[in-house]
């Protein structure tokens, strides 16, 4: 049940970072499926999640949606949550912590309306990639 909730939250997260390289989304999805297998799988999950956020912010900046300072501000705030949840997720295999972490990431990304609006448009263009990732 918790894993299903995390998967739903991951899909919602993808909505906000869909401009990032498809491989990070794909890697994150695969790693979530292996969440209870090993610490390495959970670390992979967190790394690909972080890379997806970074990639998307870089794209948003390159497309002049946000400036470098805002990109770094957003990234820094998100990394604060990343740091505080990392141990519970990777060491304790706490799936609810992962869901909470994603909620904080989404909340932060949504706070910036220009970024959120841009993400919505990117999402429309990224549907094919998402379908491929989720095999739907």
């Amino acid at each position: 049940m918790s894993l299903a909730r995390a998967e739903d939250k991951l899909k919602e997260f993808f909505y906000y970072v869909s401009a990032s390289a498809a491989r990070w989304l794909s890697d994150a999805y695969d790693a979530l499926k292996r969440f209870y297998e090993s610490g390495d799988a959970r670390l992979d999950l967190m790394t690909s999640t972080r890379m997806a956020i970074k990639d998307s912010l870089v794209r948003a900046c390159e497309e002049r949606v946000i400036d470098i300072d805002m990109a770094m501000h957003l990234f820094g705030d998100i990394m604060m949550y990343y740091g505080s949840y990392l141990s519970r997720i990777v060491v304790d295999a706490d799936i609810n912590a992962f869901t909470s972490f994603l909620e904080e990431v989404i909340r932060n990304l949504r706070l910036h309306s220009r970024y959120a609006e841009w993400a919505r448009k990117s999402w429309e263009g990224a549907m094919e990639i998402i379908r491929m990732v989720f095999k739907i």
């Binding site: 972080r50 970074k54 912010l57 870089v58 900046c61 390159e62 002049r64 400036d67 470098i68 300072d69 990109a71 770094m72 501000h73 990234f75 820094g76 990394m79 604060m80 990343y82 740091g83």
Partner: protein, 136 residues
């Protein structure tokens, strides 16, 4: 670990974040003098350092939007070093951990040629200001 050594390391670090606002750099130096007094000062010091690094990187890369990937990667590496020692620094007041963090942060920031060259130019003007603040 002596306070003198730590102060020298901080000075070396300040050299690498010279593009941050000058008043923030001064505040960092002043707060460092209260490192051993209370947790709240260390929290404030670390918060200021994080913001100063973000400002410095953003300032250097702000007119080079195509380099945002480099800027975010640099900040990402810094943030990893930051959170790796954060608890020991803030909760335990461990000056050794603070020195290790500064060493790592300096190494990270120095690794990017374009960033390093710009902040090293700024350093020339900063030296006089630091002499006044440090009283020597």
């Amino acid at each position: 670990m002596s306070a003198v050594e730590a102060r020298e390391k901080l000075k070396e670090f300040i050299k690498m974040i010279g593009a941050a606002p000058k008043d923030v750099l001064v505040d960092i130096i002043r707060l460092f003098e209260k490192f051993w007094e209370d947790t709240s000062y260390r929290v404030e010091l670390m918060g200021l350092i994080r913001n100063a690094v973000r400002s410095s990187i953003a300032d250097v890369f702000n007119d080079k939007r195509y380099r945002v990937g480099v800027a975010l990667a640099l900040y990402d590496d810094f943030v990893s070093a930051y959170y790796a020692r954060y608890s020991d620094i803030v909760n335990k007041g461990d000056i050794g951990a603070f020195m290790v963090f500064l060493d790592k942060a300096i190494e990270v920031l120095k690794s990017e040629d374009e960033y390093r060259e710009i902040v090293e130019d700024i350093w020339i003007d900063l030296q006089e200001m630091l002499k006044e603040v440090l009283g020597r």
